[in-house]
Symmetry: none
Subunit: 340 residues, 2 copies
């Protein structure tokens, strides 16, 4: 009767219960699961884990395998990175500690070798792509192809020392050396290659009160990290481009010639890698014969790229990739600054 009807309606649900796949990646657990709970218990007690939900197992594995890049950022940072922390600097970033330990776990999470994280050796391949998907190649869905960074000079670095310890420990060594970034040796190396994460954000994107900000992350406590409000039209895309502009601009001023730039904006990356070539010859017309919208800023960025060799890399958003998360925070903070 009414009960039975109720039950019937619910009963049917069982068979149509949507099924998802969850991927985890943290300092000590990586894998794909069929439920959030399996997933979360897997990293029980560990704080920094990040998860993501996917519609298919394939996508989930893609996520897990993505970003194995040890990500040796500004690794040349031989010094403890000069404490630098007093004066100004973005208070909201790293604010309320709890951030510090994160950097530690990051070190662990970065490499896939020195920590045994899961019962089964998690299938590490995926027919799909491998994270540091640099998009210089034009070919679509190519075979597993290892070529790509199979190489991997594994560079058995001692990560732990890298960030965490240096952070929490000696803050003292402020040997009067002013926080001047140009100290040659530090992470401000005026040469060689560098890695940077870029992100833009835009509160209320597409609505009236929209406010956008850009974030550029070079590494923990790196003085070149940037968080600022976007000027002009407040949209997510412009913010994303502006972040890249700022990054390359900074690289240029630091005399960096080779820059690996991570962004989660395919729009920006594809614009610079693929589409711009066509636009240059067709008068900046979209496939639909309309004007390319952010032509100006795209051209600015292109100009900068003539002076700094930028290797564009895509990183999935909200995927717990440290650099991306940091850039995101910076961008979000920037969006909250007063209008220019």
């Amino acid at each position: 009767m009414s009960i039975s009807r109720f039950c019937r309606s619910l009963g049917l649900c069982l068979q149509t219960m949507p099924k998802f796949h969850y991927a985890v990646r943290s300092g000590r657990s990586v894998g794909v699961f069929n439920s959030w709970d399996e997933c979360s218990t897997q990293v029980n007690g560990y704080g920094g884990a990040r998860y993501k939900k996917f519609g298919t197992a394939q996508e989930a594995w893609d996520f897990v395998n993505a970003e194995r890049d040890p990500n040796p950022h500004f690794s040349q940072s031989s010094q403890p990175a000069r404490q630098y922390n007093k004066g100004c600097s973005y208070p909201s970033y790293g604010y309320k500690t709890k951030r510090a330990p994160a950097s530690t776990s990051y070190a662990a999470a970065s490499l896939g070798s020195d920590y045994s994280f899961t019962p089964e050796p998690a299938p590490v391949f995926t027919p799909e792509y491998t994270h540091p998907m640099s998009y210089s190649n034009k070919r679509k869905h190519e075979p597993p192809a290892e070529e790509s960074y199979s190489n991997s000079y594994k560079k058995a670095r001692n990560y732990r020392t890298g960030s965490a310890s240096s952070y929490s420990s000696s803050v003292s060594s402020s040997t009067s050396s002013s926080p001047s970034p140009s100290s040659s040796s530090g992470n401000s190396a005026g040469s060689g290659r560098a890695v940077v994460y870029t992100d833009g954000s835009c509160e209320s994107n597409g609505r009236r009160g929209a406010r956008a900000g850009v974030g550029v992350y070079w590494g923990d406590n790196n003085p070149y990290n940037t968080s600022e409000r976007l000027d002009g039209r407040q949209t997510n895309q412009r913010a994303e481009i502006a972040a890249a502009i700022r990054a390359v601009e900074t690289a240029k001023s630091r005399n960096i010639k080779e820059l690996t730039l991570y962004t989660d904006s395919k729009y920006t990356m594809n614009s610079m890698n693929d589409w711009i070539h066509r636009w240059k010859v067709n008068g900046w017309k979209t496939a639909g014969k309309k004007d390319v919208l952010n032509k100006q800023e795209l051209q600015t960025l292109d100009g900068l790229c003539q002076e700094v060799n930028v290797d564009w890399k895509y990183v999935p958003g909200h995927a717990n990739i440290k650099g991306n998360e940091e850039a995101d925070s910076l961008a979000r903070a920037g969006a909250r600054m007063p209008p220019l």
Copy 2:
């Protein structure tokens, strides 16, 4: 240059350092704080507290002051409502007491006088809305700006007496109840209109051991009140829909033609009021081109609504609205029942 720009950006950060305000409302503590810690320690040891984060102190205070409305609904319940408690239904309601004392303390929490919690005397007004916001209006994403509703009949009510006393004391005193329109007879009236509160809950929502329950509240001691375990997929949204289904189902069986249904689930309300129309013509596809997830139960509910005229009303959750709180208790109790 680049450096100075950097500093400038950092300087800006300082002045725009994001600041939040936290409001608490529980049996023995009400207030607004500047940090989560202050806020949470304030209600140390007490289980039922609810928190909320706001961007401005004003909003936080609004929350604290919000909803003093005793909400005299379905007041027509003249009879002591036959104690009725034996048979089937909601076994675990009132279970684990803590409810009784809570109601007492609620009285204290309602007014801001008998306990000194904050330096300045909480502003008690709020320019916002007044509770029974019915959503017949259709306006799309409205701008942050608003002329409008200056109106605001402030309704200078006597809050302190309103809820607390009536709750703990006689359920019988039908005398005072004025706003009962088509009361006619007891709450079992087989005609006219009725008012009902609906709620769903789901412990560990999104995790493995999730257990969901539904709650339907028609009035104190009303035999139609419902508290049961949800079957099928255990999610908060399904519970919320199921509660509405059960309410309308009951209304139908009672031969009620006009039902005012209060829910705190915009998901459910919007589904029935707005979105379903589009779904019916687009093959139940979400804006993101994916399948609508709870199609089945939504259709069941829609079917019921063809037989009972339901007036959907939204009530904010955790706002001390009597009916909503009761439905919440019933739902929570339902979630603790054994699986079906």
